[in-house]
């Protein structure tokens, strides 16, 4: 179910440079949301109109947690929110990761970590191994990963922590050593998702990707977030906000 409501910020704190954790009460959905789903945040004022979508990074009782990065005007405003600030939110939106009963590999690039934190917490309850590949620009850009269950492998672009290089290369190097069957769940920048998509086709592993597209509504009514489907004859058009944001790699054509 989707709810549009006014609530208040319970907590909003900087986790590392430009990355913040926001918590607010949203009891209508906190019991039913699933990893992969997102919420919209609405802003007053008429200059930037679109609501901003954010993945759910975790739940705690009635609280919803969002992990966000300051990248532009509205996330800048969010970063200044204090506890008690009134906010308008709508959720839960979108589909969810399809949790498979087998070993899980989570691959996060940058702030793409957000939905995987929530997924990791859910996977913990299953009795299968979890491996987390966490990519970041630098060692000081790794928010909250130490709370994750399973084995965690870090990759940083500047080599300041863990593997030096991008997280897909890091994963590729370990790929053969990961016992099959396994499912990969990934979220991150487009280039990373494309690289993984090609890797999955080559190495034939199960892959689910959480995509980002500019959204005007998040509700399936504007048709703005449409992406082509890998088999256009079956599904001429998929909406990231409604049919996604999580897609199975074989639904997509990212080459």
């Amino acid at each position: 179910m989707r709810y549009f409501k006014d609530t208040t910020v319970l907590n909003n704190q900087m986790i590392c440079t430009d990355v913040y954790l926001l918590e607010f009460a949203f009891p209508e959905i906190s019991n039913s949301v699933e990893p992969g789903q997102f919420i919209n945040i609405y802003f007053p004022g008429k200059t930037q109109l679109f609501p901003r979508p954010f993945s759910i990074a975790g739940v705690d009782g009635e609280k919803i947690k969002i992990l966000y990065k300051k990248v532009g005007c509205l996330t800048e405003i969010m970063s200044q929110w204090q506890s008690g600030q009134n906010i308008r939110v709508l959720g839960a939106l979108g589909n969810q990761f399809d949790i498979r009963n087998q070993q899980s590999v989570l691959i996060a690039g940058g702030i793409g970590l957000a939905p995987l934190l929530f997924l990791n917490a859910r996977l913990e309850k299953l009795n299968y191994p979890i491996i987390n590949f966490i990519g970041a620009l630098s060692g000081n850009q790794l928010p909250l990963f130490n709370s994750m269950s399973g084995k965690t492998i870090i990759a940083t672009d500047d080599g300041s922590q863990g593997y030096c290089g991008n997280v897909v290369d890091c994963f590729r190097q370990k790929l053969d050593s990961i016992s099959r069957p396994f499912s990969v769940y990934a979220c991150g920048p487009d280039a990373m998702l494309s690289a993984l998509w090609r890797l999955a086709r080559e190495h034939k592993f199960d892959l689910q990707l959480s995509l980002e597209k500019i959204m005007a509504c998040g509700l399936g009514i504007c048709q703005g977030c449409a992406i082509p489907h890998a088999k256009p004859a079956d599904h001429p058009l998929r909406l990231v906000c409604q049919d996604g944001p999580v897609f199975n790699a074989n639904e997509l054509e990212l080459s």
Partner: protein, 304 residues
């Protein structure tokens, strides 16, 4: 409570002046969990074409200052699937159902209408004439008075339903289009459709929507809509439905004063799902405060 009824013709009466704008509220039943569609006076559907249309490639929306660009490209399921999937919901809707119709040539418009004409639950057609006319070298039907006039005449011969022509503002003189529509039998005019707009990303150097130039909507275009309505209102005898940048109740009053008998809410459905109820609240308070008993006392009452 003020009486919000608004009469567009003897038979065409809306319980309140708020309609959804085509393409911004799906086919009417997509967000009933969030917004009660019965709050609206009526629903205008997405543009329906004869066959399904996928629309344009992504990116097809972009945010610009106080507005948005879209190049959705009239993506829709086509008239057959529309009837198959949406009839049940729309036939039970208690407000007015207005089906927006689009075509690439006259024939397509007529064929769509023929497929819809028998449905009693459809009260009106709104004709989108902003689509490039394939038979006329791509000039939009709405940009040439002769082409428009002929289309309206043919549609008029085809239907007894309330016939609304939705005009584009991208013309030198909208009054000429309005008069051509009126002369050929239109029952009402909707204005405005989106304005031509574009934006370029200065980092990638790519246009922000794939078609480069798209439709500009949202609060930024409101002054354009008001100007076009004021101009047209003085020239025509048929009612005007106002559209363009409405985001709150004050905007709706402004459109009514300018001469609109009803209004459509477009882009605001995206950035404020509560917009309809907020507008109804505002109108009620405004009318109470100003001692206005019926909308008739507002429509066209700007002191211009």
């Amino acid at each position: 409570m003020t009486d919000l009824k608004t009469q567009l013709s003897e038979d065409f009466i809306l319980r309140n002046p708020l309609l959804t704008a085509s393409g911004t509220y799906g086919y009417g039943n997509e967000i009933t969990d969030l917004v009660d569609p019965e709050l609206y006076g009526g629903i205008v559907t997405k543009s329906i074409s004869l066959n399904p249309r996928i629309g344009n490639p992504p990116p097809r929306i972009a945010e610009v200052t106080s507005g948005m660009l879209n190049s959705i490209g009239l993506a829709n399921v086509g008239v057959a699937q529309f009837l198959a999937e949406k009839e049940e919901f729309l036939a039970n809707y208690r407000g007015k159902v207005i089906v927006n119709v689009v075509g690439s040539d006259e024939d397509e418009y007529l064929q769509v209408i023929r497929k819809l004409e028998s449905r009693q639950w459809i009260s009106a057609y709104e004709i989108n004439v902003s689509c490039p006319n394939v038979r006329q070298g791509g000039i939009a039907f709405g940009q040439d008075a002769q082409i428009l006039g002929r289309l309206v005449q043919k549609l008029r011969n085809e239907t007894g339903k309330f016939l609304i022509i939705k005009l584009t503002p991208n013309v030198t003189d909208i009054r000429i289009m309005a008069l051509a529509a009126q002369k050929n039998g239109a029952d009402a005019l909707s204005l405005i459709n989106t304005v031509y707009g574009s934006a370029i990303d200065i980092n990638t150097r790519r246009p922000k929507i794939s078609t480069v130039i798209g439709g500009f909507s949202g609060p930024a275009i409101k002054p354009i809509a008001i100007a076009q309505i004021l101009k047209t209102y003085k020239e025509v005898d048929i009612p005007i439905i106002g559209i363009g940048g409405i985001s709150d109740g004050a905007d709706v009053i402004e459109f009514l004063l300018a001469g609109a008998r009803a209004v459509q809410i477009g882009t605001a459905n995206f950035y404020n799902p509560g917009v309809c109820i907020e507008i109804l609240d505002f109108i009620d308070k405004y009318c109470m405060e100003k001692k206005i008993n019926c909308l008739q006392d507002l429509i066209g009452q700007a002191e211009v």
